[in-house]
């Protein structure tokens, strides 16, 4: 058994339990206490983000699967960004595609209808491997987004050798929901049934925290998740049909059932009968069912009388749906298999890993300005950089017209504009800047927020909210941790300045090349704005040159 828990963390667990956890329990603790699920090294700082505002409906401190802001007429906009970097490095097609699937499920978990996606791609040099990565990442994003009918309306494409071994694939999604019908991720009362849809399989066994292992003689299966947008589409359509019958929704992501059940119970208890979980392959062990990360699954908390109504919507499409357990008052999360206890841990312990404040140390500033460059060289260098070529080859592979509401399309302006169901116009933009961030993460944090705000203004929109995604190397390295803290400080300061509350975000550490060097710090923000008057369309005619600023 390979665990990522530290000695100190294991001691804490033993002390609280007054016994040695069994293998299944260690694995549960391992995923729930992983950085990915628990934010143990970042939570303190995320709490300092300006997350409040008159329009904010659901924000960082609510710790839900996505943030939400009021956009008038009783509607809320739900917003979320996430990366799928490591899976995309191994299998760019499926890695990128499952990233899209994951972010969509976050949005539908709130009961919101997904209306647009953005994709931000960062790859290294365009050698044989770089081209293979890029080609497959784009194809994977298109495969999933197109198949489920959610338009990809914008994004970024950037090249830097810092991403040679560790490409960054970020996807953001926005959705629309009636403000009063937002579905929580957590339950408030015992007695609710736990309903699971989708098959559980071998795939994605071990994604969140332990390395691949041999299974039935096959190698490395665990690392790979195959995208199935067809199943994803059934999950989206059916989930949106049943939201009126459910009390809480969690999608199954990192850490599988272990994490979804524990987080949904949110301090209450739960009993799950693992033999009821629909399986794709017969030979799965109970301990494996608990942590399998198979895609296209959702967990619902449902009043007993509504279980049938929920499941019938899935079964209509031949999609599995079972009542697997219940929320209990006893504050313990229990997994049973045919009545036998497989794991039994206090909710409180699972939800509160020892926080992790690590040493941080400011790196020497890395200003790296080449001297003696002629203006001609500089212009040639900039204009021939692959970041500045037309991105049509990317966005033309995405169905950005589906939904018949994409007003300003990819390639037409610095932000995308969508028509909302209430007639209002929504602008979206994502920005990051790895070069600036590697020189001065604090200034860079401010700068990327300001840049998104400016980009929105070019179509006539004012930013109303943002989500951030913080991508760094190993936080145990003091310079990396310090970069993280400083860029966050910069982002927070700029969001306060522009009154654009941060309603959600995500942290991705351990982005490194194969020699263990961290990537350039790459925080990224996605901002949403509303157009108050009409869309501004920039039109440059022959003979005009427009420069702003000093």
């Amino acid at each position: 058994m390979i665990l990522t828990l530290s000695e100190r963390e294991m001691e804490v667990a033993r002390k609280v339990l007054q016994r040695e956890p069994n293998e299944a329990e260690w694995r549960m603790l391992d995923v729930l206490w992983s950085e990915h699920c628990s934010y143990k090294s970042s939570k303190v700082f995320l709490r300092s983000l300006p997350s409040e505002g008159p329009n904010v409906v659901m924000s960082v401190e609510d710790w839900q699967d996505a943030g939400a802001v009021d956009i008038g007429d009783g509607l809320a906009l739900v917003l979320k960004v996430e990366s799928h970097n490591h899976p995309s490095a191994v299998d760019p097609f499926n890695g990128a595609a499952t990233g899209v699937g994951g972010i969509l499920r976050d949005i539908i978990s709130k009961g919101a209808m997904p209306i647009a996606l953005l994709d931000m791609i960062r790859v290294g040099e365009l050698n044989e491997k770089g081209k293979w990565l890029l080609r497959n990442i784009i194809a994977g994003i298109g495969f999933y987004g197109n198949s489920v009918g959610v338009p990809v309306v914008g994004g970024e494409l950037s090249f830097d050798s810092t991403y040679n071994d560790n490409p960054l694939v970020d996807v953001a999604c926005v959705g629309i929901v009636d403000k009063g019908s937002i579905v929580p991720s957590v339950v408030k009362e015992p007695g609710l049934r736990l309903v699971l849809t989708g098959f559980t399989g071998l795939d994605g066994l071990g994604g969140a925290s332990f390395a691949s292992r041999k299974l039935s003689g096959n190698d490395e299966i665990g690392a790979v998740q195959i995208a199935d947008p067809f199943a994803g589409k059934i999950v989206i359509d059916s989930t949106l049909e049943v939201i009126k019958y459910v009390d809480a929704i969690k999608d199954l992501g990192g850490g599988g059932l272990a994490v979804a059940v524990t987080e949904m119970a949110n301090g209450l208890g739960a009993i799950v009968n693992l033999e009821k979980v629909p399986l794709r392959v017969k030979e799965l062990l109970p301990e494996e069912i608990i942590i399998s990360e198979t895609q296209e699954r959702m967990l619902f908390a449902v009043k007993p009388e509504n279980v049938e109504k929920v499941c019938s919507k899935f079964k209509e499409f031949n999609y599995p749906c079972e009542d697997i357990g219940e929320i209990t008052p006893d504050r313990r999360v229990k997994f049973l298999y045919n009545g036998k206890t497989v794991a039994d841990l206090p909710s409180e312990l699972l939800l509160s890993p020892p926080l992790n404040l690590m040493p941080s140390e400011r790196a020497p500033r890395r200003y790296n300005v080449p001297k003696d460059v002629t203006i001609e060289e500089a212009i040639n260098k900039v204009l021939s950089h692959p970041d500045l070529v037309s991105k049509e080859i990317v966005y033309s592979q995405y169905d950005y017209e589906v939904g018949t509401s994409t007003l300003v399309k990819p390639g037409e302006a610095d932000s995308a504009v969508l028509e909302l169901p209430n007639g209002r116009l929504l602008a979206l933009k994502a920005d990051a800047n790895q070069d600036l961030c590697s020189e001065d993460p604090y200034e860079c944090g401010k700068s990327i927020v300001a840049e998104s705000f400016r980009n929105l203004s070019t179509v006539g929109a004012r930013g109303i909210a943002l989500v951030d995604h913080l991508q760094f190397g190993d936080p145990r390295k003091p310079h990396v941790y310090q970069d993280f803290i400083e860029s966050l400080r910069g982002i927070a300061e700029a969001s306060r300045f522009f009154s654009t509350p941060i309603v959600g975000g995500k942290v991705s550490f351990h982005n490194e090349d194969k020699d263990g060097n961290p990537i350039k710090p790459t925080p990224l923000v996605v901002m949403a704005g509303l157009i108050e008057d009409k869309v501004v369309r920039n039109e440059v005619r022959e003979g005009t040159l427009v420069l702003l600023g000093n």
Binding site: V90, D91, F93, N94, E128, K129, W132, G201, L202, D203, L215, S216, N218, E220, I221, A223, V224, I226, A227, D228, F230, A231, R280, N318
Partner: protein
Amino acid sequence: MIKVELIIINKDGVRDPEGETLKRYVVDEVGKDKVADVRVGKVIVIKVNSSSREEAEKFVTRLAEEKRLYNPIVHKVIVRSEKIEDGNN
């Protein structure tokens, strides 16, 4: 001339949603108990100017690796070959 067939298909433990869907919605309609499993993959047929099957197979295998025609983490490959008369088949 050697005709080399390269079959690229997901490894046994790796899911194949295409095969699953085909089984569930098409094949099972004809006879549910008749078929145990359906898998879908890609086939590449290359006619190589060579007189040795072994050499031709090696050539195609190397090509598939170098040009990343498959992803060794997800796929397995099966290589077969046969000698053919020029231009035939």
